[in-house]
């Protein structure tokens, strides 16, 4: 807290000093740096003589670095603000980040105003549209959840386009009606200007609402509709506002103009999409050849998308659509072509740029609010704008939903609609657009003031209140039935089952087009655009990604214990089962259990995968957990008995089962093992089709403890660190003898000798070595998360 505030003040001070210095330095600077200049030779005193002779030891040339320096300071300042409010977590739950940023901006603005300092005049139209907007839109487009998006694309477009139009026209006309009243003194605002203003403030920026929705866990459809709407109405707003700006200059608007406007809209939209597709494909194609220049791979992503944006701007077609389409197209192919590190880099840089951009905009909003001298406040206009914005959005959502609900498989009920309507906060785009209005509009200051007012009101009031309201609505729903623990668990299991079966059946709803596209994709596009066109089953690529990303992280996080602890304790538990006394539970206990369940049970598929928080990278830690668990838990199949191996004396009582994923072929049935105790520790042999890059996923250690205590039993070496090392090199697929596996085990068996159950080796092909790509020296240990915890335990 205090640190953040301190830093802010420090920087602010620097800014002011910098600003003042600028004025003073400009005079001595030329003299000290150019001793040879003699402006007034007649007035030469002893001074200049000396100056000429001596070499300046210490000079300061502020103007030279001024621009980049101040820019960096501002960015730093804004980032410190972000650090500041993340120190205290609870704040960001209740108050959306945009609020906080604006507040900080207001404070800084107030300070600057007090010291009579001018804010940097950087927020010009060019700067905004060419430098600040692209990263934000790229971020939205890159992290869009594509499957739900395309499934709901009709709805999204409907709300974005028609909704924005409805809002703009509605608000514009109402305001125009208000302006007609002489009492408000607004007569000089023409219809075009009203429409222009209305189109600007219809731009919805639901970031804060999205965060809340994601935390609450609204259904996927609602999330994606709000997300898509926020994204696409940027495009619509920009198009509309440029159109209205154009029209605002014209004294009379004819019907042909309106018609042309509509036509132009389509040109703009279609052109943007085509542009984006073009650049996306070119980018994908380029990355096909970049395997030798891995370091600059991320560059292509950014350059191509920026090119798409600029090209579209050049032709005055929708640059937002262009960059979004480019990102969507690119992402799929590029992420398959580039290396893992480049992939991570791209994601991080996209997020970073977007966050910086957005932070700066909100920050400036705060600063400019205070320091702008030409505010024009007109109570009537502003109040009515607020009122109409709210009303028209509410009505709009209602009407639009009524119309489109019949076409949807999953319909929006009233709660959803309320959420949609209330989530319509205004944000950065609105501010930037209004700020960059041409000065020919004579009431520009009023518009600026009005938009700032609206943004601040919606962001603060709606942003802060949306969480309690949504929670309230939801809470009423779930408190109706008092579930038992059983019901809660079983219903979640059933939800998972249904999700799983749905996934098994494949996507049925828009089957036809998706299938066609998939065929086209597999046959033509992938061949051209991907370097490595083996039809990898998606599980392989996903496993690969997760493994590579997380192999080392596992060592550092408690998750390293993930695979060991459960197994062990389950056996532990079994032993105690008989002797456990009957435990009575208090209601408080039960309530706590419900709490634990509701917080920690994995949500079903859509929520696990699809959502992204705008300020964070996609969180796949849960996915990771599930995958690791799945790896670690040995798949149970009912064919247990048929897999018993009679005897493997070479592998006596070793209890270590390594669940390794052979990358090789799966012709050999994967094994299951069932311990006779029935605690069900088994192998997961599910392995997809071969790729020459094999995977060695999590290894699981089952350590059975005779007596209570936990991890320390297994000696470190016994974890097969040694045997793992032997497996470093990739093993050719032809080796299928389980004897190979067996060979490595005797080393283990010596160290542990206490087990009494027969061990059945798996009939897996021997474990493969590490993926060739993983060159980390720590890779070996990384492969065995348990190596780490054993060393911890020893």
């Amino acid at each position: 807290w205090i640190l953040g505030v301190f830093f802010m003040f420090l920087l602010l001070f620097l800014c002011c000093v910098g600003g003042k210095c600028e004025l003073q330095e400009s005079k001595p600077a030329p003299q000290t740096n150019l001793p040879t200049v003699k402006p007034f030779p007649n007035e030469a005193q002893a001074f200049p003589n000396e100056e000429r002779a001596s070499l300046p030891v210490f000079t300061m040339d502020y103007p030279r670095i001024q621009v980049p320096f101040e820019f960096t300071l501002w960015v730093l300042l804004a980032s410190f603000a972000k650090i500041g409010f993340h120190i205290y977590h609870k704040i960001t739950i209740w108050i959306p980040e945009s609020c906080l940023l604006i507040t900080i901006g207001l404070i800084v603005g107030a300070i600057m105003h007090a010291v009579k300092e001018e804010p940097p005049a950087v927020l010009s139209s060019n700067v905004f549209f060419l430098y600040m907007l692209p990263p934000i839109v790229l971020d939205s487009g890159y992290f869009i959840p594509t499957r739900p998006f395309f499934e709901n694309i009709g709805t999204v477009l409907w709300y974005a386009v028609v909704g924005t139009l409805w809002n703009s026209i509605g608000i514009g006309l109402s305001l125009f009606a208000i302006c007609q009243f002489e009492v408000f003194g607004l007569q000089d605002i023409s219809l075009q200007e009203n429409l222009l203003f209305a189109s600007i403030i219809s731009a919805v920026d639901p970031v804060a609402a999205l965060n809340v929705f994601e935390d609450i866990g609204v259904n996927e459809q609602m999330y994606i509709v709000i997300f898509g709407e926020g994204l696409f109405n940027d495009a619509v707003t920009v198009a509309l506002s440029s159109m209205f700006t154009f029209l605002a200059d014209m004294p009379i608007v004819e019907s042909t103009d309106v018609f042309l406007g509509v036509a132009r809209f389509f040109v703009v939209a279609a052109g943007g999409v085509l542009f984006g597709l073009l650049f996306g494909f070119v980018a994908a194609f380029t990355t096909r050849f970049t395997h030798n220049v891995r370091q600059i791979e991320p560059l292509f992503v950014f350059m191509y998308s920026y090119l798409a944006y600029l090209g579209a701007e050049c032709f005055s077609i929708s640059s937002v659509l262009a960059i979004v389409t480019c990102a969507i197209t690119m992402k799929y192919y590029v992420e398959e072509n580039v290396s893992q590190r480049s992939c991570t880099t791209i994601r991080h840089v996209v997020k970073m740029l977007a966050t910086v951009s957005e932070t700066l905009i909100f920050f400036f909003l705060g600063v400019v609010t205070i320091t702008i001298t030409e505010h024009e406040w007109n109570w009537a206009y502003i109040m009515f704008t607020l009122l109409f914005a709210f009303i028209w959005r509410g009505i709009g959502i209602l009407v639009l939903t009524q119309i489109i609900n019949p076409f949807r498989t999953i319909q929006f009920n009233f709660k959803d609609q309320f959420g949609l309507a209330y989530g319509g906060l205004r944000g950065a785009i609105c501010f930037a657009l209004v700020f960059t209005l041409p000065d020919t509009i004579n009431r520009k200051n009023l518009f600026v003031t009005a938009s700032i007012a609206i943004i601040i009101v919606t962001v603060f009031i709606q942003g802060i209140s949306i969480r309690p309201i949504v929670e309230y609505i939801n809470i009423r729903r779930t408190n109706k039935d008092l579930h038992t623990i059983n019901v809660e668990v079983h219903t979640r299991v059933m939800e998972h089952v249904v999700c799983g079966i749905e996934d098994l059946c494949g996507q049925w709803s828009h089957y036809y087009w998706k299938d066609k596209f998939k065929k086209f994709n597999d046959r033509i596009l992938r061949r051209i655009l991907l370097r490595d066109n083996r039809a990898e089953s998606s599980i392989v690529s996903l496993y690969k990604k997760l493994e590579l990303q997380n192999a080392i992280e596992l060592l550092d996080t408690p998750m390293g214990d993930l695979s060991a602890a459960p197994s062990m304790v389950s056996l532990h538990d079994e032993r105690k089962e008989a002797s456990r006394p009957k435990k009575m539970f208090l209601t408080a206990d039960v309530r706590k259990m419900h709490d634990i369940l509701s917080k920690n049970m994995y949500k079903i598929r859509q929520k696990t995968m699809a959502y992204t928080n705008k300020y964070n990278l996609p969180d796949d830690s849960r996915t990771r957990e599930i995958l690791i668990r799945r790896h670690a838990s040995i798949r149970r199949s009912v064919r247990a008995s048929s897999f018993r191996e009679p005897s493997e004396q070479n592998i006596p009582k070793s209890q270590k089962y390594y669940s390794l994923q052979p990358g090789g072929d799966l012709e050999t049935a994967f094994a299951l093992r069932r311990r006779s105790h029935g605690d069900g520790l088994q192998f997961s042999g599910a392995s997809p089709h071969s790729s020459s890059r094999s995977l060695v996923p999590m290894r699981k250690l089952n350590t059975i403890k005779e007596s209570g205590t936990v991890l320390d039993e297994r000696g470190p070496g016994s974890l097969g660190g040694s045997s793992l090392r032997g497996r470093r090199a990739p093993v050719p697929a032809s080796r299928r003898r389980s004897s190979d596996w067996v060979d490595e085990d005797p080393t283990d068996s010596e160290r542990t000798g206490e087990r009494d159950e027969p061990v059945r080796p798996p009939q897996l092909p021997p474990p493969r070595g590490w993926l060739p790509e993983n060159q980390d020296p720590g890779g070996n240990e990384a492969g065995n998360p348990l190596l780490r915890h054993s060393s911890k335990g020893s």
Partner: protein, 194 residues
Amino acid sequence: MGSSNSSVNNIPNAQELMQETGFSAAHILRLHERFEFLDKHKCGQLRPQDFGAVQELALNPIGDSIISAFFSPGQETVDFASFVRILAHFRPTDRNQSRDGAQQEPANSSIRKLKFAFQMYDQDRDGKISRAELLQVLRAMLGIQVTEEQLQSIAERAIQEADLDRDDAISFDEFRKSLEKVDIDHKMSIRFLR
């Protein structure tokens, strides 16, 4: 992509399957295409690894249990008929369906659905959910933040609530009783399989 009867007839036993499961010809066709898609080796049977190739299933916490439910004890592969029969459990129930006692229980009755859910827990098919089995499923479903003790208490509580005959395990009847307030038909149906 219609339900051309000729292609349906290419599928062996299509008519019987339709009769037995209640799927329409179009669905059978669709399922058959899906089956062939999953059957990468074109051998007419599915193996567990074919199921495993579905990415979302891998990310399902109880994905393994779901997969193993397709395989009857002792079988290593699943043919199309079994595939369809199991999927038939998830058809939405026809509310207006009137059954006389002589008719066989339809594949998508509530009992069948419940049995499928029961199988998620009861992997060894002994008709009871033991404490260990319950724990296993719980463990798979909860994040890692949950400690082992909490898991134990939750499992303990669950068994206490449901176990009426005090055998420290949940039988199918007890399971059914504990879920009597839940709309099974709604929860365990997949809309597009209607």
